[in-house]
């Protein structure tokens, strides 16, 4: 379970994130939506202890992330291309991550088998380093890398962006399957409302650093969200 208390992040006088309380129980597929600059990536970075909170804390299973490193056993993430090692081939990258998560070469190979379809034959044995792959293929490598080694919590920042339509569908199925079968907790941010409502069972909307909506997904959710963002547009003058 992820627990957030009085969490805020301030740069100078600008507060970019301020969340009083948020709890994410195990097994939840948690969607984070909001416009650019709403604080989505800031929130994920705070959860991963990549930036320091101004006040408050994030704790994962009762361990504050900035005090102990024990959470690293449970969490994996793909936020952006700084999570990729450009000079490795995709296979080497998977072995590297796998070995650090207690797998070996053979078990990583076994794990990768079902993904041949997902990779569309362009990634494994392509004879390319990750730095030379296209943006979309890099993203696929990063996402699959985050799944290796059975992490309990997987954080994905904008996983649908840059992916082709078929892969978006495959990714949605993958997320659903992992959360149903293995009880993996997913934290996903996205600009795509329909994808998010389809895979997530809870959706939180942030705006200018504040938590403005917290919805358990139901058939009306997509409409609600579309309405909310449409209102945002009409409120602010274009």
């Amino acid at each position: 379970m992820i627990n957030i208390q009085n969490l805020s992040k301030t740069y100078g006088t600008a507060t970019v994130l301020n969340i009083e309380h948020l709890e994410i129980p195990n097994g939840e597929t948690f969607g984070l939506v909001g416009n650019n600059g709403a604080g989505k990536t800031t929130l994920f970075s705070l959860m991963l202890d990549l930036i320091q909170a101004s006040t408050g804390f994030v704790s994962i299973d009762g361990i504050k992330v900035n005090e102990s490193e024990a959470w690293k056993n449970k969490v994996s993430a793909f936020v952006d291309d700084t999570f990729l090692i450009g000079y490795l081939t995709p296979e080497e990258y998977f072995y590297f991550i796998g070995e650090l998560r207690g797998q070996n070469k053979a078990s990583v190979d076994e794990f990768l088998k079902p993904f041949h379809d997902f990779f569309n034959g362009e990634i494994l044995k392509s004879g390319k380093y990750i730095r030379d792959l296209s943006k979309g293929n890099q993203k696929k490598v990063g996402i699959v890398g985050a799944i290796i080694g059975n992490p309990e919590i997987i954080i994905l920042d904008e996983p649908f962006a840059n992916l082709d339509p078929s892969t978006q569908i495959k990714l949605k199925n993958l997320i659903k399957e992992l959360s149903k079968q293995d009880g993996v907790t997913f934290l996903i941010s996205s600009h795509d409302l329909s994808h998010t409502t389809e895979v997530c069972n809870r959706i939180v909307v942030v705006n200018k650093g504040l938590l403005v909506k917290d919805i358990q997904t139901n058939p009306e959710t997509l409409k609600d969200l579309e309405q909310y963002f449409a209102d945002q547009v009409s409120v602010s003058d274009i």
Binding site: D49, L50, G86, E92, Y95, L100, R101, K105, K128, Y129
Partner: protein, 488 residues
Amino acid sequence: MFLKFLRLEIKSFFRGTSLGINLTMKILRFIGILYFIGCLIGGAFLAFFYIQEEMHQNPLKMVSKFMIVAWIIDLAIKYLWQEVPTQNIKPFLTMNIRKNTLVNYMLAKTFLSAFSWLTSLFFITFSLIALFNGYSIIGILVWLIGVIALLYLNNFINIFFNGKEPLAIAIGICFVIIGSLGYYNIIPVLSYSESVFLSFYEKPYFALIPVILFVLLWWICFRYLRKEFYLDQGLEAKKTVGKTENIAFLNKYGVIGTFINNDVKMLRRNKVTKGILLGSVMFLFYGLLMFTSSLYKTPAMMMFMGLFVTGGFQFLFGQRVPAFDSSYYPLMMTLNVPYKEYLKAKWWLMNIVTGASIIVALCYAYFGWEVYVTFFAAGLYNMGVNSQFTLWSGAFNKTQIDLNSKEKRLGQKGSFNMVAILLLIPKMLLPMGVFALAKYFTGITGGVVSIAIIGVIGFFMREKIFDIIVKQYKREKYSALDAFKNKG
């Protein structure tokens, strides 16, 4: 149009790397550039007056004589470090600018690189001095134009060579052969150079040759680039075929083995790290300096050389330890590996290479066993003590390193910091002092043993020291993550 481009260049120069660098750094960088300029201008004065007053030779003749050497070195430097600026041309491709203009812009851009204009400073200053000392105005002017045209010719030659390694190596070998023929006076290369370059001064119309060559090569280069001015041809960033490989026996060592495996790949596959490897090999020859001056034969200096001979890789690699991982530091910080293991892997890698250097340094036994045992003790000190200190100073080095780009802007070296300089005391001065004193009082055995003992103590204290370093790294974690985001 070119004025607009020039304005962009100026902006990129002042803005590109200044992100994340504070004012002191900027001032230091500025001083660094001034220092270089000063060196070159001072060098011109020195060259002129030393040759004239001390050697009683004609300075122009002398400089002309060694011009061929300067020209080859210039070409080599440009080939090794200067990259054809293909990448930042991309945004202009779809703008309302004629392609011919863009190609010329790209060619002109190579002249703005520090490698190009710094050498010109030397020759301009030199010519000015010559003018004030009674050389003919036209002669000197023409000589200068000829020399600079020839040096700038290298920019074009470099463009042809780029990515054609076999050709470059073949030409390199030719140069070495010609050089040795000249060295052993089989072919008087230097006097050929003298007569060719001096003829620019004596018979000004000869200088037309380099100018014509310059214009001709510009034209050929222009045609060459214009034909390939497409994203998937000339403008494509060079890709190498990726090969999945693995040093299997390292897998036995768990996380540390995994990390070392990864670092070996990093060192082999990136341009910046290849430079580090080359530098480390050069340091092995550092001990040969002892033949240049008796100054190096004192015990303290012998120790100094020993530290560099055995620790070249360690110094170059260790102080960039988190910086080399800067492009994927967030990944490193979220993987389930304790900091200590990460650092230990780096420590082992450095010490394996230091160990290998100690073995290679056996060649120095040729100059006497005393030299070698000194170097051997220095190696032990490097392994036991300096490996930790170097990692420590690395924590303060927060320069984002783009692993796969060749060219660095002048003065971009952000690794300068107070801590790194303070750490030089235990790293260099302490062993030098101890060795000199112990040798003075108890002879060579005492000196070597005392250094070795300190090294071994450091080696066994490593767990304790690691804990301190880990604390330091944790304290610097957030600011390092933030600084690494600023791409150069």
